[in-house]
Symmetry: C2
Subunit: 364 residues, 2 copies
């Protein structure tokens, strides 16, 4: 792992201490070039069968990449989505929950999960129980059909109680992990986590374009989770008209459309990290660096929120809005968690000691 | 209207007689440049609040563009989708149809409509009745809750029986038009059509990127059609957690994510046609040119399928596959309609006499 070499692949670091991969990862020069090349070909040749052949090839490569990062045994258990939220919605809408059913979630979830849960409650009368992030497994009761919770909390970088959740899944209650801050950030395997569904982002720690993501559906639900739509690419034989059936695997959940240029951007992003030390090493590097940074904050008397071995470091600041603005003026990009008085730094293997020292200088 | 000036904005025409806008429109040089510029900014500055400010601005411009092309009275009756199919799915899933309900459609619909209808039938027992394209209004019966049909047939360019469908809508049965071959190709206003929902494509006659489209929802269903999800951008206040509610207009149906670079591509495409004679003139030019071409085919004894005043011309060919391949070898792009022995040419204002003469030379 050579962080300097990895870092040089991302133009943002030429001037900016970019510590916001938890929103969107840095964009690799190779990604811009790959997307530009696809656009160029489309402009010169037109977009007919040639375009769709390229698109299908790129979809296959991206699905394989996501399967590898998720540690999925079967590449076709992974759907290409446009965001973590889309994966969440496809699971929630597919489960056909009603007034007798309860979903357990935490009080610290992202609108990409709470929005759809609010809708299930308002539209179908589904019971939604929100408890502390560490207590989600214990809150499971007889009416619980699903536990839906972050793998890694977007608030503070805590890791969900995975062993207890695996036990929940084994007991027959589905477990959906929101992996927005998981996939690409930390090393794991969905098969070992023991969850039922895993929804992840493409534009955050995978450094892909806005509009990419993935949904893993385990064997238990592979052929049971209904397809939304399904439309052309989700069908075994689109020409079968009213007799068409969806794929018997996660391809039935592929998003409505993913352009060749977006897929090429995503593939190039993955290959960039792979070529500069690899993803597993990057996860170790990032976790070490994040913990060291948290320690520096604590040493300076800062109230760092409890966290796990992840890439997020959050701390309290009475005026988080002002801090984030002041940082931006110094070309340091971190974010505020609105309404919480909390600043969050996202630390990747692409961040240097210098990035963190610049940020520390502002905190102190 | 200067077709030569318009044509010069699209690099594909330097060498290719591209007659396939019914699949994907030509890509403007300005679109490639606009997307590349957004990617460049994202790579240099990172993707934090700056990126989302640009994205929101571009979304607003694109929504306004789509509203204008649709002739929608209220810009917020238009949702940004990723495809015609997504708009169709959002309507079909939102109507909560069951075994007592019937959907009338035609035997000539695209998989983007037949796939979701097959699913409604298999999953919820919804009755689906497929009749001739011209007969959809007459087929409405007491159980009919929705007529779902193409505005312009993707098979042959016929126009749906719009007056009769407007009468159906006035009688209280919802009418969903699949406008994949309508919006951007022909000039119309959804308000005057009298339909209930209109789903359209961004990547075809609007010349946007793959992954764009729109859904218009008329006043009757504005606040009633349930949101899918809804997720961050669909919510009035995403920070309201489990109490969040969707927008009271079509923004509740905006697709999960639409990147700044894709939106910039789409806006630049629209502005390109607007700057070279305008959309209304382009529609007239294309329709005239398509009818003249159909007449030439007929004069050569070809069996042209019945068509309307649209941009599609289809004719029978015993070996349509071979014809399309032979055309491609001559750098002429048309498409086959699989299983029908039909070749389809898509004719836009950007196509020249020379394009059509090259194609005619091959047909004769």
């Amino acid at each position: 792992m050579s962080p300097a070499s990895l870092r040089s692949a991302f133009p943002v670091f030429d001037e900016v201490a970019y510590l916001n991969s938890g929103t969107c990862g840095p964009v690799a020069a190779a990604s811009v070039e790959a997307a530009r090349e696809e656009l160029h070909i489309a402009a010169i040749e037109g977009r007919a069968s040639n375009y769709y052949e390229r698109l299908i090839d790129l979809h296959g490569r991206l699905r394989s990449i996501y399967a590898t990062r998720l540690g999925a045994g079967d590449v076709n258990d992974v759907a290409l989505t446009s965001s973590t939220s889309e994966g969440v919605v496809r699971v929630l809408e597919g489960l056909d929950l009603g007034p007798e059913d309860q979903v357990v979630t935490s009080v610290d979830e992202h609108p990409g999960l709470t929005g759809p849960l609010a809708n299930l409650r308002a539209r179908f009368g589904v019971q939604v129980r929100a408890v502390g992030f560490d207590d989600v497994a214990d809150a499971v009761g007889p009416a619980t059909k699903l536990v839906a919770v972050s793998h890694v909390s977007w608030i503070d970088g805590r890791v969900a109680p995975l062993d207890a959740l695996a036990e929940v899944a084994r007991s027959g209650v589905a477990v959906l992990l929101d992996g927005a801050q998981g996939v690409g950030a930390i090393d794991f395997s969905v098969e070992e986590l023991g969850c039922t569904f895993y929804a992840g982002s493409g534009q955050k720690w995978m450094c892909g374009p806005v509009g990419t993501g993935m949904l893993w559906v385990g064997a238990e639900w592979r052929e049971r989770l209904p397809a939304m739509g399904p439309i052309y690419m989700n069908l075994v034989d689109a020409g079968a008209g009213l007799d068409a059936v969806p794929h018997a695997d996660a391809r039935r959940h592929d998003t409505f459309t993913l352009s060749a240029e977006a897929a090429a951007f995503a593939v190039a992003a993955h290959d960039t990290v792979a070529a500069h030390g690899g993803w597993a090493a990057a996860a170790v590097e990032a976790a070490d660096r994040a913990e060291a940074f948290a320690e520096e904050l604590r040493a300076r008397g800062r109230d760092v929120l409890p966290r796990g071995r992840t890439t997020l470091v959050s701390w309290r600041d009475e005026d988080a809005t002002a801090f984030v603005q002041r940082a931006a003026a110094h070309r340091i990009v971190v974010r505020e968690l609105p309404g919480r008085g909390v600043v969050r730094a996202s630390i990747g293997a692409w961040n240097s000691e210098d990035d963190l020292e610049r940020l520390l200088a502002l905190v102190a």
